[in-house]
Amino acid sequence: MSVAVENLPKDVEVLDQPLESEMTLSMGPQHPSTHGVLRLDLRLDGELVVKAIPDIGYLHTGMEKLFEYKKYQQGIVITDRMDYLNPLGNNLVYVMAAEKLLQLEIPERAQTVRVLMCELQRIASHMVWLGTHCLDIGAMSVFFFCFREREKILNMIESASGGRMTPSYFRIGGLMMDLPAGFESRCKQFLDGFLDAMNTFETLVTGNTIWQSRTQGIGIISSEEAIDWGLTGPCLRGSGVDLDLRRDNPYSGYETYDFEIPVENDGDVWARFKVRMRECYESYKIVKQALERLKPGPIKADAPKVVLPDRDDMRKHMDSLIHHFLIVAEGFNVPEGEVYHAIEASKGELGVYMKSNGGPKPERVHFRGPSFVNLQALPVMSEGEMVADVVAIIGSLDIVLGEIDR
């Protein structure tokens, strides 16, 4: 079908595509199953996807530039808003990069609390993934059960930091505050009920034939391709590549915890699903170990020029007051240099490149967001699949647009 176009400038070329063989479907940015404001430009041949082009940037907020105008400590709040399902992981990678530049040694309790909170956050993140993934494919009630578990974790995070989705709990040099009284018993109570909840999910989802047939053999990516596309996290491990930074490049004392890295070889949606489900159990194990290790101790590094002094000292001692005043007002100078630090976030390798020019504000902060890189593989995975399966594939990638667009 061609349309007569009149009065157009001569240099404008009108593309006139016949509808019979291919059609373009714009999926998103308001589509509920694109997990935010992702827009997919789908070229369809009937119901088969010929080409899928992700269109991103609807949520672009210029975060990386924003870091350059904030003191190091103030940057923490920006990281909260990147991957908003895993804010503590973002906090962690940012503060660890700054700590690397400052060469701070973090006390053991702070390290343990960081691991504990990050693993809880990983479970919460996976709960959202599972809930929404199921919702996309058509299972409604799983969503509610997942969010109930997440709610418990968010309550715990809230009790520790005061914020639910934007905790900003970690500080350069330690933690914002120590864990509140009763946190450990709350956490134990959560863990007691968690296996039961996982059981529910296994019954509802894993053992469900409909689920299996919707996911098995869909969106396959081979291990070589996965490596080529730079996939990390569960997406990579779902393709049979055994890589996890917690084990391979340990930080915050992960090397001392006993846990396994789940790997599946199929490379399809089902494999990625199974990796994440098994990760929840591993996180559960880590949280349990961390709880056992929690011993009273300092939660801030012994670095008076970086860490705010104790509040009682600040009220009584002139030295502490001056340090408090200047750290808050002018920030602290970070030695010149650049650093890349990466952690295993719930979605894959979350890395931060930080460059300091010796002043109180970073010269450049760049994030290697796992969602952003993983999304690249979407066209490879979805080409040749059905339109309905694209939804399943997006779900299995577990993307967060806040991090992709930044």
């Binding site: 009220r315 030295d319 007051l321 001056i322």
Partner: protein
């Protein structure tokens, strides 16, 4: 270039100039040495003991601020021993420091904070109660918290060396040492330099009291609007309000260092004052009221009226305006009206001086280094404070000879090596005596001095080994000025260089003179014209000449005597709201930068003139950009040739305009006038013997300074209040009489504040 010697610092060898101070060398080479009391422009103190270094073959740690480098010196600036000493020192300094940072105005730019952050120890072992002394006022402008003091004595040294006033001094001894004043009250010129150099929050600005924080302020480097010294300062503004003015070297590095005077530093309240003219005002009927109007209306009205007046329009520029504004006014007269009726409303005319200038202008640095200073008339410590400071230091620190010729024993005369106390109004006779040594007896008689005085004067000049700077104030007649300006050879010593330094009264007197080339005298212009365009008010004494004019337009900030005669008043922007340049008395053309948006509906003076010109059909091609105005100045005024704003960017390297140096001229006509003037002088005259009061000109209430409340108290004799703990502004009416209704406030006891502080 003096001899180079070898010094080893931290195992690195350096070649330094002989006689260099060790602390300066170390800092220059990048070794950070902390110090409180060391201040490069002041005498040595070595009281803070923070700048300790280890020098080999010396038994103890040495204070690097008192050591001059010697050949082969081996210095260690960082070691455990030194750091331990420094940390102990800082611990002592804080032992009695109150926990005031959140309240203290210095917080955020406090040197004590910065030093403690770098060198302090967070472990504080002193847990004893601190001595509590309440914060009090030392004058309406200076607030003092003795407890915060670390006794570095910078303030006392500044007061003594820079100002020569000794108003602030250290009292008591040992641990009881406090910084105090005579009689508990500062009766000095209130320059506020003690506030500026204070490294802690001990001495604080009473005008900017508890207002905001340094990091909240936008710092804009600009030039002083009061004095002709062109002092560089930094305006701290926030959200369209000017909060304070400082010259602190962390913000600005101008010719004046950290020096400012009372007007430059404190009299900035006028910028945001509610009395500022808010909209254009039109007086539709003579004798009627000024009625607010819109800009369009006002400009249209002005354009129409001025066009009607044809060539009978005169233009007057104030020497307070920027070069840009003055130049635009001149262009308006020349190009729009087509008349030569333009003038500058200065107190005295500098054009004869510049026409006959026979030696270059002295910069302030040259005054500081000069060997002989001749001051004829004028009172720089009241009017050109920075020049006075340089003179004082040249005499005090470098042993320069200061010869003062004045009819009153001004305060500087105490420092003069020769004070020639002449009769009032006999300056012409002195200028005549300078150039004409034959009639010394007669001239001396007219001057009321001994003949020997003149001989001594000549001898001092001839013996000078170095520069001679000749300064003169406004008491000289035009003929005397021209003769003096052309008589550089009269001051020639053995190998001396002669430099001139005029002492004009206004910030841009020199610039106005440069740009208004071919100007007429003010009275002539006022007489010749029926309509007037006036930029900035006239001297109050001249305003009666404005009566019975057809039409007068005034560009002003406030309602003044001049605006009473105005038919249209256009709200002009103050120096803090415009971009431009001022030319100071040493010929430096320096930038004025916009700190805040023009308040109310005001516009820059040059822009107003441009708008009127456009209404009358002339386009100056400025495109509403100050840069273009300055380019036009540079293109048409020879002394400013080739200058552009970027060349004036660095305030630490000011650019001197090229004033033409004329050769020896035949000035017989002027001589004749001088001679006849001198002959008219009577031999008997009453000499003025009373030394003028400190601040008698500085504290005078003018249109601008009267907007700062503190100046009213200063002008009314700076009364000492009953209760130093409470701001004098609360205790006094602005006329200096005690306020009765706030007697309760004044009665706040010492105990009240002490109780409050013990809480911590």
């Amino acid at each position: 270039m003096s001899e180079l010697i070898k010094v080893t610092i931290n195992e690195q060898d350096f070649e330094v100039e002989k006689g260099a101070r060790l602390i300066d060398v170390c800092r220059e080479k990048g070794f950070n040495i902390p110090s409180f009391c060391y201040y490069s422009d002041l005498a040595l103190q070595a009281s803070c003991r923070m700048c300790l270094v280890r020098i080999e073959k010396m038994p103890k740690l040495q204070t690097s601020c008192t050591i001059t480098c010697t050949d082969g010196m081996i210095v260690t600036t960082q070691s455990e021993e030194i750091e331990k000493a420094q940390r102990a020192m800082s611990e002592f300094l804080l032992a009695n420091h109150p926990l005031d940072c959140p309240v203290c105005d210095r917080g955020g730019e406090c040197e004590l904070q910065e030093m403690i952050f770098d060198w302090g120890d967070v472990e504080e072992r002193f847990t004893e109660k601190k001595n509590v002394e309440p914060e009090k006022f030392l004058s309406p402008i200076v607030a003092n918290d003795p407890q915060r003091c670390i006794v570095c004595k910078r303030c006392t040294r500044v007061c003594d060396e820079w100002m020569g006033e000794d108003a602030i001094e250290a009292g008591n001894r040992g641990v009881n040492t406090v910084i105090g004043t005579y009689g508990g009250w500062l009766n000095c010129s209130q320059c506020g330099n003690c506030i500026e150099v204070c490294p802690t929050g001990t001495l604080l600005d009473g005008v900017y009291r508890h207002e905001t924080r340094p990091w909240e302020l936008d710092q804009t480097i600009t030039t002083d609007v009061y004095g002709s010294d062109g002092m560089q300062l930094s305006i701290g503004s926030r959200g369209g309000l000017v909060h304070r003015i400082v010259a602190r070297d962390r913000y600005v590095n101008g010719l004046n260092g950290e020096f400012l005077d009372v007007k430059a530093r404190f009299a900035h309240e006028f910028v945001n004052h509610p009395d500022r003219i808010k909209t254009p005002l039109i007086r539709y009927k003579k004798g009627g009221k000024l009625i607010p109007a819109t800009w369009d209306e006002a400009i249209h009205f002005v354009g129409q009226k001025l066009t009607e007046s044809g060539k009978n329009v005169g233009v007057v520029a104030s020497p307070r305006l920027t070069n840009e504004a003055i130049f635009t006014l001149k262009r308006f007269a020349k190009e729009v009206v087509g008349t030569d009726n333009y003038a500058v409303s200065d107190r005295y005319d500098l054009s004869v001086f510049f026409d006959n200038l026979s030696a270059p202008l002295a910069t302030h640095k040259e005054i500081r280094k000069a060997k002989t200073l001749v001051l004829i008339g004028g009172e720089p410590e009241e009017e050109q404070t920075f020049t006075a400071k340089q003179m004082r230091q040249a005499v005090r620190n470098d042993g320069a000879k200061l010869i003062i010729v004045n009819h009153t024993p001004i305060r500087l005369s105490a420092q003069a090596s020769q004070f020639i106390h002449i009769n009032p109004n006999s300056y012409d006779a002195f200028v005549l005596a300078l150039t004409d040594s034959a009639n010394d007896d007669a001239n001396a008689k007219k001057l009321g001095i001994e003949t020997k005085d003149l001989a001594d004067f000549r001898q001092t000049l001839s013996e000078t080994e170095g520069d001679t700077v000749v300064m003169f104030g406004g008491d000289l007649s035009p003929q005397a000025q021209s003769v003096l300006a052309n008589s550089a050879d009269a001051f020639d010593g053995t190998n001396a260089k002669v430099l001139f330094h005029p002492l004009p009264l206004y910030n841009n007197s020199v610039g106005a003179n440069d740009l208004m080339e071919g100007k007429k005298s003010l009275s002539e212009v006022l007489k010749n014209s029926k309509a007037l365009l006036i930029g900035g008010s006239l001297q109050e004494a001249d305003t009666n000449l404005l009566a019975n004019k057809d039409f007068i337009v005034v560009q002003e900030l406030f309602e003044t005597e001049t605006t009473k005669y105005a038919d249209v008043v256009l709200p002009a922007a103050s120096f803090a709201e415009v971009d431009g340049t001022f030319t100071n008395n040493t010929g430096f053309v320096q930038r004025v930068r916009q700190a805040i948006e023009p308040v109310n509906q005001s516009k820059a003076d040059w822009m107003i003139t441009t708008l009127i010109a456009r209404e009358m059909g002339a386009d100056f091609g400025y495109n509403f950009s100050a840069t273009m105005v300055f380019k036009a100045i540079a293109d048409s005024v020879s002394a400013y040739e080739g200058l552009r704003y970027p060349a004036l960017k660095d305030e630490s390297k000011p650019v001197q305009v090229k004033h033409a140096i004329s050769a020896k001229k035949d000035l017989s006509k002027e001589f004749d006038v001088l001679k006849s003037n001198v002959e008219k002088l009577s031999d008997e005259a009453n000499k003025l013997t009373a030394t003028p009061r400190v601040g008698h000109k500085l504290h005078r209430l003018t249109t601008l300074t009267s907007k700062t409340a503190q100046f009213h108290l200063l002008a009314h004799g700076n009364p000492k209040p009953e209760n130093l703990l409470v701001s004098p502004l609360v205790q006094f009416n602005l006329d200096g009489t005690p306020r009765t209704e706030t007697a309760d406030a004044a009665a706040v006891g010492v105990t009240d504040r002490i109780n409050l502080k013990v809480e911590y």
